[in-house]
Symmetry: C3
Subunit: 438 residues, 3 copies
């Protein structure tokens, strides 16, 4: 990266920091109506891209699990986006961007519901987008955290209990955690950096996934006599569709996190995001070919996601070569992590903990190593990673534990054997599937 | 919604009304080349989003039906988009936006083919888009009406007859009906409001679906000895992919119906659309859990579509809370409607009538209840709903009946049992599907 | 050439030509920051649309082949996009747009890696996009050529050898070939025209597909005792998803090839692209119904792709009616070509040669027939088609032959019978697929 560009990026990063720091404040300078319209249009494009990630998660998760639990998984993912959007409108948005913090920059709340106010739909609210664009873009992010959990606890969790967990985690825990950085809370003031959510979204979801897996225990028959018995997914095409849609959505996830259509920054983010994903594929392919002797498709798919999660924290602030390194390392890490978690008998059917938590941590720390902005420090990044870990793991653990003690968390063994589709929904995913030929 | 915003929305709605009223007239004021380019770019983005809805329909419809009819359904949906675009270029566009009406604001025709004229690709044609953008955006809508019919008549209609119906309905009936409102015809002059087509697209398709179901009769074995025998869909992942793609496409369907990239209006439309879809999921989940004891995935999927169809008529003119109510009610309605249609022995394999006709009517009437624009009146909305019902149902019924009497409408019983894939196409959807394992 | 072309197509084409001819040079006139931002935003939207074509290829190819080779196909397609992006960053981009040619306008190289330089992220680099946008848009195109090959050689090629071929072809052959026209090389100076790549992308991939099929030979059991035994695809829904996603992506492939958000040109390109695809469906439907007696879904799907490939060379320079003719002819051609290739015992499991090579040639020649620009001459187009044919076929043949002689190109007969999924990857695509019901 040339010095000139470095300076440009630095300048834009500062501008961006300003936008993040003052999300609901009035802006000193407005932009032309034309520029405001381009910016807002890009943010809405980014919004529908993030939306489609929910289909990506649904497809990936159902593809990597068994056919007898497919309806349940699709149902959960459809419910999550609905619950996520509605609770974010009611409380989440105002918890995440409270304006004033009442509890020492740890907690604030701006009241229930949406209120654009007098300037909400003008560039006086924000030169990059209207109030409603702000809400809907962030709302699409919110449900993602719970979606990550869904994969890890699949094939054994009770539907009702999962929906209660989702509602609480998306409505309360995710936005409070988010406010610490994106809402201008204590970690933001400390200089912690997470561009688009390696930690704020992916690790926040990943910690809850880990808590859920621990409280639930492994699926029946997964670990028998000290051996790992692989449970094959029922549709690799579905899993692949999921991963490509997630990759597609990431252009909105990271590209939209620029918070405007700024040509220099958005195009840089597209390049770092793409190359990190590509490098993640290569890293996982090499690791899988080396460790497992034959290259595993699910590892390679998770490798691309690992690269994407890894680059998310620093997509606007690392160079192109650094992005490749970050993705490559993430691709190797995810393969190792999947194998190690199985050794530890932590049963995560889709590899969600490895992809979102482990690579989310890696990506956040990588900002402290590779960032072109000298203000980003490894130690601060580490503090952020640990703070989110403590808060989110404990919060998720408590909720899961309380659900276990009250509603019950796990379906009974008979239902688990027959599948949750019939047990929870009274229907099958492939009921009308009778092939005449063979 | 604050008074200030109400006023803003009202003002934009008036501007929008102006755009709709004068689609081919010269505009008093042009916009800057920059603004014209942003507007046009957004309209083209909306265009490709509406395009992808056709894949959504294909996936949803084939997912909810049996594997033996899958090729036929995919074939129909591929043919519809092709026939729809071509006939719209030849006659539809000029029937829908005739400029001058020759039959008392009920019918007009501006001639065959496309002709941008001198100003077609400049902002003098329209500050929001070029002539070609106008055509292709509207053309993507056009085929939708026939796609809706496809689902209702699935698993028993002859391919050739269906294609003839589609051609006539898309080329002639849909655009004439559309001209009454969007072409500045009599209903528009009466003050009827349908922002993006709860009635003009969804009910227009839904009435034809109802006519088709009545003329065709139910599938063999669906109603036996007075009992409803459920026919399970063959792939719920496919159905879910379909619904998420439809939801995605709706951001273009509704977002593009603003007819410019206006930040205030497009972002409001994104929020009302999203929250109505989310509320539709919740409404259907509650209704299904209550009435059917276990939450049905296909009901929840149709719930999101119900919310989307419901909000389509007023997405730019109702408040956020109203959008939630409209979606919630639509989600409940669709579950009730699906169960009631089965009692009436109207066999609609995918629930198209309930989603598109019933919720389309609900959404259109809801404008008369929830609109922030005092000029929108319930009675006028009701007149519009009835007028479209009478015209479209009769037109579709006549075409279907004429086809039944001439080419024949229904495949014979033997072919219906074996499946239309082999009968109509000589191939199977899953012919090369031999899993070695088991 | 520049002046003559500009007279015919207008000032936008002049600008466009300038962009193509001088991709890394400074521009005499810059645009407003607003216009630059709209242009760049559209190019990034086009980028993610082209990205999703890779999922389209993966779905189409796996849908049209047997379940036992599905993992292998999905793996290849995931690896290709990764290899394509990374090699394009390292060498491809600078081979394709070398600036100076060292070998008589046949070959040039601007050095390894990406370097935006001082003006790379400003409109001084290019009024339509930043340096990084330029790279990532072109990078998405690059991998496409190898993806085309993947389908033709499916179900029998060794994974390792295919990946080596892909790397060489994408990193070296594709960009050198591309430089002849888009990099302002000798064919560009001769007046050859290929708007978005009927030849530069599709035929370049198609020639390699043909070479691969010849060197590999047909699948076991495809041609027995002089008869063609059809091998049914394992999932027509997957194939249909693939085709619709490819069609969707084509709006970015062709729409982005305008290299700006120019309203007149991009909207024209959307219309010609859409109508050619639609006409391709109709052409293939008619040909298939006529020749095969029953309309074949895979033919119709390939018909839409045929129309899209056909219009790609002239999407900005032919009229709307010509686009329909081009698509219609392409749809007929593809059906005939598929049947003829089978007679010639050239086994192409997905019809890639017919779609991409044959219709790519047709589309390129069609520019010489239908272009509204009198500078476009049939003879020049023919020279271009032949030049690419000679270079690409020989290059691909040599690589495939060398691989056959070294690593080996084809899996052994036992592995081919059991499927490449188990043989190359040790896993199955539908391992966890056990339907409880039937």
């Amino acid at each position: 990266m040339t010095n000139t560009l470095s300076r440009r990026v630095g300048r834009y990063a500062l501008l961006l920091l300003g936008l993040v720091l003052l999300p609901s404040a009035a802006f000193a300078q407005e932009v032309s109506q034309e520029m405001f319209t381009v910016n807002n249009t890009w943010m809405l494009v980014a919004t529908f891209l993030v939306f489609i990630m929910h289909l990506g998660f649904a497809a990936l998760e159902s593809g990597l699990t068994r056919a007898k639990n497919t309806v349940n998984i699709l149902f959960k993912n459809t419910a999550i986006i609905a619950i996520g959007l509605l609770t974010y409108a009611i409380v989440g948005f105002n918890l995440m961007y409270p304006g004033d913090f009442s509890l020492g920059e740890f907690f604030g709340f701006a009241g229930f519901g949406l209120d654009p106010g007098a300037e909400g739909n003008t560039s006086a609210y924000n030169p990059g987008y209207t109030y409603y664009t702000d809400f809907i873009f962030q709302g699409m992010f919110a449900a993602t955290a719970a979606t990550i959990v869904s994969g890890a606890v699949a094939e054994r969790i009770k539907l009702g209990s999962f929906l209660v967990f989702t509602t609480l985690y998306v409505a309360v825990i995710y936005p409070i955690a988010g406010s610490w950085k994106w809402g201008a809370g204590w970690l933001d003031q400390m200089g912690f950096y997470d561009f688009a959510g390696s930690t704020l979204v992916h690790s926040v979801g990943g910690w809850a996934a880990l808590a859920g897996v621990i409280v639930l225990g492994p699926r029946l028959g997964k670990y028998v006599d000290g051996k790992v018995r692989p449970v094959a997914g029922h549709s690799m095409p579905l899993a692949t569709i999921g991963v490509f849609l997630l990759w597609l959505g990431w252009y909105g996830f990271n590209g939209g996190s620029v918070l405007s259509a700024d040509p220099a920054l958005v195009s840089l983010v597209f390049v770092t995001t793409s190359l990190a994903a590509a490098a993640g594929v290569i890293g996982a392919m090499a690791a899988s070919w080396g460790l497992q002797h034959k290259p595993d498709l699910s590892m390679v798919l998770n490798g691309s996601l690992a690269g994407l999660v890894g680059i998310t924290a620093g997509a606007d602030t690392v160079g192109v070569a650094s992005a490749v390194v970050i993705g490559l390392v993430a691709g190797v890490i995810v393969v190792g992590s999947v194998l190690l978690l199985d050794r530890a008998k932590l049963d995560d059917p889709v590899g969600a903990i490895s992809v979102h938590l482990v690579c989310g941590m890696w990506g956040t720390l990588a900002v402290g190593i590779f960032s072109t902005n000298p203000e980003h420090a490894f130690l601060t990044q580490l503090i952020g990673v640990l703070a989110y870990g403590v808060f989110c793991f404990i919060a998720a653990f408590v909720i899961f534990f309380a659900l276990k003690a009250s509603l019950g968390l796990r379906v009974d063994a008979e239902e688990e054997r027959l599948g949750l589709d019939v047990g929870e929904h009274g229907m099958e995913a492939y009921g009308g599937f009778q092939i005449t030929q063979a």
